[in-house]
């Protein structure tokens, strides 16, 4: 007789049951996630690529990507057919057919045209944010990890940074609104101000140095996002700097490298993959955020792109479009989802925007996950 025969069937089946429950929990999460992706794709893909819709059509709806959002006009024409046109098309339509019958006219804000404005706005916001956050974040991480004396002070700073990484994004939005939008931050030299001076005005060179606030602007939004993502970037960069073996630094220094040469040639190159991953992760986080830009940068409707004749900001050294408000994908979605009643006509804009936006963010997220796994496999020393 086999002395190691399984003694308890009850235990075995209990184990199997437990494992199945755990597996089920796991796969329910996956199922929910995939269902959300599927549902959004099912509704949104036909808007972007009409060839997949029931009616069929062109391969890519270029209008959707290259037109600005507009008001959508719904009406019934002479034959009683329901039509919906973006307002500019509608105006042309009525011009072309002056005696066309237009009945039951109804307008839906933001629901016509395409999403060019929000796409461009989001790209600019992310660009401004990442440039600022990466320069400051990487430099700060290098300082904290390579230069600063590792005492209690640096430890406290590190702790503060880590804690700030968990602060809700809306709080950063509040701060950004108060600091970047309303607080006079930008020094401007002006002459001929007369007696009507702001609170802080430093007289110099026959004029005054005064400070202006940025208001609701691309720059304010980008900076707010940068502040939000800064703790994440600093922490991630420090981590990748720490992962570089001490031996590299010692070898480099022992060969007579200066501190900077050592960092440049023996530390940064090997921390780059980690920093890159962190930046892509940062882009993912920043692009998807709505709360911090709601009242610092974004507007619901704007007829033109940021660089098309922005309003003069009166700050001679700063490009005007930086101080102009922008449209942004997440805010656009918030507007159409929360404020526009969903009808057959308006659904296309909602579904299409959500789909394109999700696709964009998921692409970045996938790249960052891929990079991390890839580098983790590859970099071993």
């Amino acid at each position: 007789m086999n002395p190691f025969q399984s003694s308890s069937n009850a235990r075995k089946s209990k184990d199997a049951f437990g494992s199945i429950v755990l597996a089920a929990l796991t796969y329910i999460i996956l199922g929910c996630t995939l269902f959300i992706f599927y549902d959004i794709a099912k509704k949104g893909l036909p808007v972007l690529m009409p060839v997949f819709s029931e009616k069929g059509g062109e391969v890519l709806n270029t209008d959707f990507l290259t037109r600005m959002p507009e008001t959508l006009v719904e009406f019934t024409d002479a034959e009683g057919v329901k039509q919906s046109l973006p307002s500019s098309d509608f105006i042309e339509y009525t011009k072309a057919n002056p005696d066309a019958v237009v009945e039951n006219k109804k307008t839906n804000a933001y629901s016509g045209g395409g999403i060019k404005g929000p796409l461009v706005g989001t790209a600019l916001l992310v660009l401004v944010c990442m440039v600022v956050a990466l320069v400051i974040g990487i430099a700060a991480a290098v300082y904290l990890n390579e230069y600063a004396k590792q005492g209690r002070f640096v430890g406290m700073i590190r702790l503060a940074i880590m804690n700030l990484a968990g602060v809700p994004s809306i709080v950063f939005g509040l701060f950004g609104f108060a600091f970047f939008c309303l607080f006079p931050l930008i020094p401007v030299f002006e002459t001929g101000l007369g007696t009507d001076l702001p609170k802080v005005a430093i007289p110099m060179f026959g004029g005054h140095l005064i400070f202006k606030s940025l208001g609701n602007s691309l720059l304010a939004g980008g900076l707010t996002l940068a502040v939000m993502v800064l703790p994440v970037i600093i922490a991630a960069c420090e981590e990748s700097l720490k992962a570089v073996p001490k031996g590299f630094r010692e070898a480099s220094l022992a060969l007579g490298a200066t501190k900077w040469q050592c960092i440049r040639t023996a530390v940064l190159p090997y921390a780059t993959p980690g920093i890159l991953t962190a930046s892509v992760l940062g882009v993912t986080r920043v692009a998807g955020e709505t709360a911090p830009i709601m009242f610092t940068a974004a507007v619901a409707l704007k007829g033109k792109l940021p660089w098309d004749s922005p309003s003069d900001n009166g700050i001679f050294w700063m490009p005007d479009f930086l101080t102009d408000s922008v449209q942004a994908m997440p805010y656009h979605i918030y507007t159409v989802a929360a404020r526009i009643p969903r009808t057959d006509a308006t659904a296309a804009m909602q579904d299409g925007s959500v789909f394109v936006f999700l696709l964009m963010v998921m692409a970045f997220a996938s790249v960052s996950i891929y990079l991390r796994i890839h580098f983790r496999k590859k970099l071993k020393w």
Partner: protein, 279 residues
Amino acid sequence: MSNSMNDTTRTATAPVPNNPNPIAKQDAMIEIDDVSFSYDHGQTNVLRNISFDIPAGKVTALIGPSGCGKSTLLRCLNRMNDLVDTSKVTNGQIRIMGQDINASDVDPIELRKQVGMVFQKYNPFPKSIYDNVAYGLRIQGIKNKPKLDEAVERSLRRAALWGEVKDRLGSSALGLSGGQQQRLCIARTIAVSPRIVLMDEPCSALDPIATARIEELIAELREEFTIVIVTHNMQQATRVSDRTAFFYIGELIEYDSTAKIFSNPSVKQTEEYITGRFG
């Protein structure tokens, strides 16, 4: 490096007198003069009043049980201890080629160009073999390709690695065996033509065959460089070194020619250590 010395051991070793210095001043490459060193702002000294001279063109071994301060002393010689913020030479002077290396106008970077170091754990950069050897020259601003080629070949030949790697200079250094990687690190160190090469237990991570190759290499390099080697392997000290210094808990117990130390030590503790009775 542990510096937790308890009082009983300290009193046990305290009465040992400093050895008379047997090397003539003019031959000394490195003069260590009454040096004390601390890792914690001078609260506890891990080296206490060390004095001896290291002769040029010879191999000097530093031996002693773990935590005796031999590695610390080695890292004082090219000021690698500067990397630890709280460390400090609390007393005495280290002079290399007559210059006090801790003087305010000494640039540790210039110092390290002259005093190279090979580490316990071989640490080639994850670059090509060529780039590893050329690294030190490049950071000194040498960009001339023929010059670099020549220096790389010369260093690899000197490190007895040329034959093994000459066909794959462009491949990653991490693909070499451990012993080869350590020899590559030695090649990298001697490529910048230092006067002194410090070796911190260079063979401790290697197998016996690789160790033997490194030891041969040390024997060859002694003509060109002043070598200071830390080892806890006493056979290795006898095989490679001309002179040996024995350390115990932060103090120099005995310093003499290797032959003398291992055949006829004058201090009882040295004898106990080399015969394996403690440590």
